[in-house]
């Protein structure tokens, strides 16, 4: 198992893929393209960071796309119609989404229900609520938005590292540190390994479950704000299906969907791989955007099959011993 960690394989796929793309279209290997790639996938990177925690803990969160959609609509209405200062609106929506995630985590733990179906209900709820707020796209004209959109660090070679990309990088780094260096992170791994064992070891399983889903929804809320910076509008149908892209990014990043193993850095690489496929298709021009879905599906299959193989290899000696005893 320790021979070649999944993250390394993801990194190799990313580098090899990027090299192939760059061979065909030399312009891809420029800071401008890479900067745009980071900007375009900023919200995905943020939400995937939260999803990594959830999946490592053995759960899943299908509601993130809807939470992003709800956030964009809420922020747009709060700023444009209800006259809230943008910062107040941001704080309000982040508190709201954190409470939403905490509620889902509480339902999952207290009633002992599968996370899949609880977050599915959450997905309906958040999407329905955003439809109720507004079915139309609401443009945001607040000055903060143009300031943030215009802000960018110049990179050598004409690239721009935009504010949303910086936010994403900060969250990815913060998430990685939280997962690897804190007691909270260790507990997340423990939960994913085995809930019963974690509970016996003294992990407060209930509190952890609530916190993990709270984190995921909070990051989805931040991703929603970033998404609204990116589009300068709030729309109830935005980010439909993002939960799938997110889960795909996490899996391609080497996180085990059964929980217990994975990393935020791997997820980040998974997001970059998806962005790279999209960029390649844009550069090619003749390929249609649906190839992104097929390529993502193929990559998903490859990585899941690889994990399956690794897990089978890791379990083999144990199975033999059990067979010998009986």
């Amino acid at each position: 198992m320790k021979g070649l960690p999944p993250v390394l394989i993801t990194a190799i796929v990313l580098v090899a893929g990027f090299a192939l793309c760059a061979m065909q279209f030399p312009n891809i290997a420029s800071t401008r393209v890479v900067g745009n790639l980071l900007t375009d996938n900023a919200f995905l990177g943020i939400v995937a960071t939260g999803m990594t925690f959830v999946i490592i803990s053995g759960g899943i969160d299908l509601s993130v796309g809807s939470v992003i959609g709800f956030t964009t609509v809420f922020v747009a209405l709060a700023i444009e119609r209800w006259g809230m200062p943008p910062l107040v609106a941001f704080v309000a929506i982040l508190a709201l989404s954190a409470a939403f995630g905490a509620a889902m985590g509480a339902v999952i733990h207290v009633f002992d229900l599968p996370p899949f179906i609880v977050t599915l209900a959450g997905m309906f709820l958040a999407r329905g609520a955003s439809f109720l707020l507004s079915t139309e796209s609401v443009p945001i004209t607040a000055p903060v938005y143009s300031t943030v959109s215009d802000f960018a660090l110049r990179l050598p070679g004409g690239g721009r590292l935009t504010a949303v990309a910086i936010i994403m990088l900060a969250i990815v780094i913060g998430g990685a540190l939280l997962l690897q260096l804190t007691r909270f992170g260790a507990n997340v791994y423990a939960l994913g390994g085995s809930r019963a064992t974690a509970s016996l070891m003294g992990v407060a399983v209930g509190r952890m479950t609530v916190k993990i889903y709270m984190l995921s929804s909070l990051l989805a809320g931040i991703a929603g704000i970033v998404f609204s910076f990116y589009t300068s509008a709030g729309y109830s149908l935005s980010a439909v299906g993002v939960e799938l892209d997110t889960i795909a990014a996490v899996v391609i990043g080497g996180t085990l969907l059964t929980g217990g193993q994975g990393s935020v850095i791997g997820t980040f690489l998974g997001v970059l791989i998806q962005g790279m496929i999209q960029t390649y298709i844009n550069f090619d021009g003749t390929l249609s955007s649906w190839w992104t879905k097929i390529a993502t599906g193929v990559l998903l299959f490859a990585f899941i099959a690889l994990q399956q193989g690794l897990v089978a290899l890791a379990r083999r000696p144990v199975a033999k011993r059990a067979g010998a005893v009986s």
């Binding site: 207290v110 179906i117 209900a121 959450g122 969907l257 249609s288 649906w290 599906g297 998903l300 899941i304």
Partner: protein
């Protein structure tokens, strides 16, 4: 277990009656039926007609869930089969069109079943692959366009009638009877329930669990393909982006409302179809009441939560305690 309609369906039937009553209050002509050109028309028929795709999906999904699995790809499979049917309809005979569309569903089901049964992947993950890639494949078939057709043979599936019932409803009814006869007329249903109850114990007891799992995913794929053909015939075209979008969630919801546990084991085909009808009756009621259709999602969310809480092992334990306390008091 022998009858198609078990005694435990009472809650679902009551729920359907209550929703129908609410619909009647909202729209006084809800129960009106009239016969025109040898086909029945009216809100009730509308509910049946529109509920058909989800009812078909839930027929396959309930078997998958009974084995403790889940199939997220049914919406994508609908898109694929609809795309195939629509692109072949005007150039090939109906038999070829149906064979191709249903064959595609069969292959999709085989793929899912292979991943779950042979490679041993988690069902959510295994079917996620096709859910993501399937819509891309469907768009590949339609070349990104909305393909329309005018072949009267295929259109008949959308607007024809058999004995006064819309064809799609008759097909769903036929599939329900066929599935019920195969599954409950033999030991197959019991073996599927055994697989879902405890796969390892069943394996040791001599149940071919792998074959069972493979078979239910294949059946689920075929049902989804049939739903896709009907959905395409209904709009006389195939839209790879939107055909069957989110219907996998409705199908899972229908199965859950039908009382089949997501943890596998006992299942009921009739109640799953009843669940699909409950969902559609709610949808139609919301439309008729003049509320914006956006309310649908909120109502669905509340229903999912309510059903989940009723099914929750913790809560049923609580109910047991309450009844036991009452008994001791009495």
């Amino acid at each position: 277990m022998t009858a198609l309609l078990p005694r435990r369906g009472l809650a679902q039937i009551l729920a359907l009656i209550v929703i129908l009553a609410v619909d009647r209050v909202v729209s006084p002509q809800f129960f009106d039926l009239r016969l025109q050109d040898g086909r029945l028309f009216g809100s009730l028929i509308d509910v049946l007609n529109r509920g058909t795709p989800v009812a078909l999906l839930s027929l396959g999904m309930v078997l998958v869930i009974a084995t403790r699995g889940i199939d997220l790809s049914v919406g994508a499979v609908m898109a694929i089969s609809g795309a195939i049917a629509a692109s072949l309809a005007d150039s090939h005979s109906l038999a070829v069109v149906l064979a191709a569309a249903l064959g595609a569903g069969l292959i999709c089901g085989l793929w899912n079943g292979f991943l779950v049964a042979v490679l041993g992947m988690q069902p959510i993950v295994a079917t996620l692959i096709l859910m993501v890639a399937g819509r891309g494949i469907a768009q590949l078939i339609t070349e990104g366009r909305i393909v329309t057709f005018s072949s009267p043979d295929l259109v008949w599936f959308g607007n024809g009638s058999i004995l006064g019932l819309p064809v799609s409803v008759a097909i769903a009814l036929g599939m329900l009877i066929l599935t019920g006869a195969v599954v409950r007329g033999s030991a197959l249903g019991l073996l599927i329930e055994a697989t879902g109850g405890n796969a390892r114990a069943s394996e040791l007891a001599g149940v071919g669990t792998r074959a069972m799992i493979l078979a239910v995913y294949v059946w689920c794929g075929v049902c989804a393909a049939l739903a896709g053909v009907i959905a395409a015939a209904d709009i006389m075209g195939a839209d790879a982006n939107n055909a069957g979008l989110w219907l996998e969630l409705d199908a899972i919801l229908a199965v859950v409302i039908g009382g089949t546990s997501l943890f596998g084991g006992r299942f009921s085909l009739v109640l799953a179809v009843l669940g699909a009808l409950i969902i559609q009756t709610m949808n139609t009621g919301i439309l008729l009441s003049g509320y914006p259709p956006e309310f649908n999602l909120l109502v669905k969310a509340v229903v999912v939560l309510a059903v989940l809480l009723l099914q929750s092992p913790k809560l049923s334990g609580f109910a047991d305690v309450v009844t036991r306390l009452r008994r001791t008091k009495a």
